[in-house]
Amino acid sequence: MSYFLFFLLAIVSIASILAMILTKNQAYNALLLILAFTCTGGLFALIGASFIATIQIIIYAGAIMILFVFVIMMINIRDGIPPERKKWTIYFSIFVAVVFLAELFFALKGTLAPLSTSGIEQSSDPTSLGRLLFTEYLYPFEITSILIIAALVGSIVLVKKKENNDSN
């Protein structure tokens, strides 16, 4: 049963990512990405990491992608990048993708052992996760939240700029 579910979720997520890269319509891109994120959440749930699974769905599939969909559907962009810029971006993106893949592979090579799900049971428990976040990893946690607040304030400042000029 779990094998069947694993292959179903894995195939759907990979297929939706491929379809996302290949389709031109931005709205469909966003929707396929949501499908992929949800399937990834399902994969996390399958190995018993229920906390990470729900967080994956709430944050990625729910909160972040809904803003993408919102903007895409409101603006309704039809044609993509102009053709003269397109060539350059293709080569650059292939280069970045290969570098990123290599980096990921070298970083994760050590952990690519069969059935390396030890520690999952521990990390899926929200209590122990919260305790770790607020004791051992307190500074990284707080610094991340400061970064997010900075981004938030920055975006508000960018939006407000025009209004300030008018009043001055």
Partner: protein, 359 residues
């Protein structure tokens, strides 16, 4: 094998409970609104001349909806147009799996939890499913390829996203005092007594949290004080291009959301299946009386009281829907972002201070 069978039975029972209650909620809404407006309400549907104050009406409505023409406009995006109502229906219906209906039932040496899915992050699971349900609204508006439905769905999505923040914040207080995300544990913690006589329910410990939760939850159901996405009397909503059974699914989803919100309110703030003074072996009153009951009777009591509480909140939501006028859009956003979210943050801080003093 018997494990799978038990789970199957539980799934079927929970879904039947939800769907029958949804059907009869449409009847209850008609009757209650009729009483409020001094009318009689739907009472003509009859089987062999037996009218039963319109109790057969939901079935007539369902049959009518099934046989209506299922029309989708030529200009719509056909596939998404069909999946959108399914998305919003499924993601609301699936949340019933996390609701605890009663304490675990012991048959011989077998323990059957009265809950389909007792995961340790039940609360987050429900929030995740509700946030995925928003895509049904957005997709229905966008795939209809109609400017009015598009605007309706954008209004709806903006409203739901805003109030989801307040909903999450109001529940943090509950998580702080009943330290678990597991719904069955949250309910079990509410079985204790405060000062020896008051049941330790969420409402007594988190009155402000309850207020914020209930208002935000009302906004999540997209009904009258907050029915900006749909606005059935004047503005055009996101399902204007739907007909027949697909439209029926959207309507069913609305009523199902009422039930889910009632279940959540009961579970978090009104002790879920906890009956005051009822322990595992019977009633123990604080003034000294005792009434020992069998295990099965206790479970039956708990299921009954859970249902009663859910019915009460369904009734309350229908009452609110037929009593108050609609918010204006800017008032809606102000209430969400400038009133409920700051109040939610204050609630968290106050809860933290009180908890650290008591500790």
């Amino acid at each position: 094998m018997s494990e799978i069978l038990i789970i199957l039975i539980k799934v079927v029972l929970a879904l039947v409970w939800l769907l029958v209650l949804t059907l009869y909620l449409t009847w209850a809404e008609r009757k209650e609104s009729a009483v409020i407006q001094d009318r009689i309400g739907a009472n003509r549907a009859a089987i062999f001349g037996l009218r039963m104050i319109g109790l057969f009406q939901p079935f007539c409505d369902a049959i009518k909806m099934i046989f209506k023409e299922d029309f989708s406009p030529k200009f719509s995006r056909r596939f998404l147009h069909t999946t959108a109502p399914l998305i919003s229906f499924v993601f609301v219906a699936v949340t019933i799996s996390a609701m605890p209906f009663a304490s675990p039932l012991h048959i011989g040496d077998k323990i059957i939890t009265m809950q389909i899915l007792d995961i340790n992050v039940g609360l987050l699971f429900i929030l995740a499913m509700l946030s995925l349900g928003i895509y049904g609204i957005i997709l229905s508006g966008w795939s209809s390829n109609n400017r009015y439905t598009m605007l309706g769905s954008l209004r709806g999505a903006a409203q739901l996203i805003s109030y989801e923040v307040a909903l999450g914040l109001s529940l943090i207080g509950i998580i702080m005092i009943f330290p678990s995300l597991q719904l069955s544990k949250v309910v079990t913690f509410q079985g204790d007594l405060l000062f020896g006589f008051l049941p330790k329910w969420g409402i007594f410990l988190q009155p402000l949290g309850f207020l914020i939760f209930f208002i935000a939850a009302l906004a999540e159901t997209k009904r009258v004080p907050f029915d900006l996405p749909e606005g059935e009397s004047e503005i055009i909503g996101f399902f204007a291009e739907y007909s027949g059974l697909k439209w029926g699914l959207f309507m069913m989803t609305d009523f199902m959301e009422i039930i889910i919100i009632s279940c959540l309110t009961t579970t978090f703030f009104f002790g879920g299946w906890q009956v005051p003074f009822l322990a595992a072996d019977g009633f123990h009153f604080p003034w000294g009386g005792e009434w020992i009951l069998a295990h099965g009777v206790v479970i039956l009591f708990q299921v009954l009281i859970f249902n009663l509480k859910v019915f009460f909140f369904c009734w309350l939501q229908i009452l609110i829907r037929w009593t108050y006028p609609r918010y204006r859009y800017d008032q809606l956003m102000d209430l969400g972002w400038k009133a409920l979210i700051p109040l939610g943050l204050i609630n968290i801080v106050v809860t933290g201070i009180v908890m650290s003093i008591i500790k």
